[in-house]
Amino acid sequence: MSYYEFFCPVKVIAGQAALEHLPYEFSSRAVERPMVVTDKGVRNAGLLDKVLAACEEGGMDITVVYDDVPADSSKQTVTAIAKEYRKQKCDGILAIGGGSPIDTAKAVNILVSEGGDDIAQYAGSGVLKRPLKPFFVIPTTAGTGSEVTNVAVIADTEKEVKLPFASSFMLPDAAVIDPRMTLTLPPQITAATGMDAMTHSVEAFTCLAKNPLSDAYAAAAIRKISNNLLKVMEKPDDAERRLELAQASTMAGIAFSNSMVGLVHALGHSLGAVCHLPHGLCMSLFLPYVLEYNLGQIREPLSELLLHLAGPEIYAMTPKSQRAEESIATIRKLRDDLHRHCGLPRTLQETGKVEKSQLDRIAQMTIDDGSIMFNPKEASLEDARAVLEKAWA
C-alpha cells in the first residue's frame, strides 16, 4: 500500500487582468511598501512597467525596485538586496521574473524575516520554523514553476558551492499568472521553458514519489503543453494559449514539488553546470533518452501518458503494448517540430557547446545529484554515461 504527502498553500491568481489584483492582495496582507525584486531582462522587456502601472492605477505606488538580479544569484546579491529592504523600511516582497529573481527573492525573504546578513546560516531543509514576510511572485517564463516550489538555490561564490534552501515557509502567499507577462517571450526560450514544464510533469508522473494528487496536476499540465506549445510557436501573440502554457507550468510545478523529479534533472543539472546551457534546453535534450532507459520500470504510467501527450484518438488506436513507446515517439516528434520552428537543439552535438571529452565529468556529477534519488531505476555511473552517449547524436 502506498503512502504520500501533498502540500500547496499558494493562492493562484490567473488569467486576464490578473496583475490588477495585486493591490488588493497586498492590502489583504497589510503590505504598504513592497520591494520589487527582478532583473534587467524583465525591465527591458517592459514587463516591470506593466506591473507598476497596474498597481499605480489601483492606488498603490511602488517605489522600491531592485532590478539587477544576475542570472546565477549569489550570496552577496541576497545580502545587498536585504540591506536595501531594511534601509527602505519595506514590509513585503514581490518577485517578477524567471527562476533567478524568484530564488533570490525567496532567500532575501529569509534574511529580512529571520535577521542577519549571511544567508548561508539558513541553508538546508527544515531550518526555518515560522512564517516569513508577505511574499508574492509573478512568473515571466512558462517553465520553472518556482512560484509554487519550496526550494531555492543560491551560489556561494567564495566557497564555490551552491547553497540549497528548502522550507514550506518559502512558498509565496500568491502567484499571479497574467498572459501579458509571457507574451513577448522569444521563441527559443518559449520552447525550452515549455520543455522544462513538460519534463517536470513527465518525471513527476513516472518517478518514485508519484501520488494521485500530483498525478492529476501532471497529466493536466501535459495536456495543456501538448495542445498549446506548437500553436504558440506558430502564433506567439496568442494570449489565450500563452496563458494555457503559463498555467501548465504552474501545475507542473505543483506536481513536481510534491513528487520530485528524476534522472532527466540529474543529467540536466550536471550538463548545465559544465557547459552553461539553459536548464530548459538540458531537459529537452535528455527527456526521451531517459524515458527509454527507465522504460522497464515505468511502462504503465508512461502508457497512460499517451492519452495526454497525443490525444484520445491516437491513444485508442495504439495497441496497449505499444503505448509507452508511442509516448516517447510523441515527445521526439515534439522536439523535431520545435527544432524546425526555432532551432532548439535535439542532441548534445547539435548544441555546438558540448565536447565529447566532457561527458565523463557530466556523468560523474549526475550520480551525485540529489534528483537521482527518486529515479525509478537505480542509475550507476555507467548507466549515466550510456544515456549521455545516446543523447550525443
Partner: protein, 182 residues
C-alpha cells in the same frame, strides 16, 4: 483488554529491533568499507572526519559513522556529542522499522517523506547507495531484491566478513516475527 496489554510489548520489540539493526548496520558498514571497492569509491568524496548519522525522531535509536583518513568508515555507536555533517532522520520509529526490516526501500522511504535529510543531498545520495550495497551483502538474495532497487550480479567478497552480520540478522528476524504476530 488483551490488545491493550500487547501493544506496548510490540512497540518495545520494535524499538529493540530498530536499535539492534542500527547496530548491525553500523558494524557491517565499518567492515564493508574496509574491503569493498564500490563502497570505498562512494565514500572517497566525503571529507576526512565527516560525521554521518541515522536517527529516529525524537531522540530515538541512532547510529554514528565517521570517515577515516584511510578511506574507511568507523562505527561510533549510538550517540556522539558532535553535530553530524549529514544526518538522515526517520520521522517515526515505525518508519525506521519498515526500512530496517526491509519492507520498504530506502529511496522509497525518502520518496514517501518518511525520512528527512539534514546536510548535503549529494552526500545523502551516496550514503543511500552505500546502504543499498550493504543490504545486498548482509541479506539473503530474496530479501535484498525487495530492499534495494536493483540487485548487483557480482558480489565478490569473502563470505566470512559477513557471517557475523548474518548472525545478528537471524536474531533480528525473530524480532520481526514477534512484532508481526502481535
Amino acid at each position: 483488554m488483551i490488545r491493550e496489554r500487547l501493544r506496548p510489548l510490540a512497540s518495545q520489540a520494535k524499538r529493540a529491533y530498530v536499535q539492534l539493526m542500527l547496530d548491525v548496520v553500523g558494524r557491517s558498514l565499518e567492515a564493508i568499507s574496509e574491503v569493498d571497492d564500490q563502497v570505498r569509491n562512494e565514500v572517497t568524496v566525503l571529507p576526512d572526519g565527516f560525521l554521518f548519522s541515522m536517527q529516529v525522531m525524537p531522540k530515538g535509536p541512532a547510529l554514528f559513522m565517521r570517515k577515516q583518513r584511510d578511506g574507511s568508515l568507523q562505527y561510533l555507536g549510538g550517540s556522539v556529542a558532535q553535530r553530524p555533517d549529514l544526518s538522515i532522520q526517520f520521522k517515526h520509529l515505525h518508519h525506521a522499522f519498515l526500512v530496517l526490516s526491509f519492507q520498504e526501500k530506502t529511496a522509497q522511504s525518502f520518496a514517501n517523506d518518511r525520512m528527512l535529510v539534514d546536510g548535503d543531498l549529494g552526500y545523502a545520495v551516496r550514503m543511500t547507495r552505500v546502504l543499498n550495497r550493504l543490504e545486498t551483502f548482509i541479506l539473503p538474495r530474496l530479501v535484498a531484491s525487495r530492499a534495494v532497487k536493483e540487485y548487483p550480479d557480482n558480489l565478490g567478497l569473502p563470505e566470512k566478513v559477513f557471517s557475523a552480520a548474518r548472525i545478528y540478522l537471524k536474531v533480528a528476524m525473530n524480532f520481526v516475527d514477534t512484532v508481526r504476530s502481535s
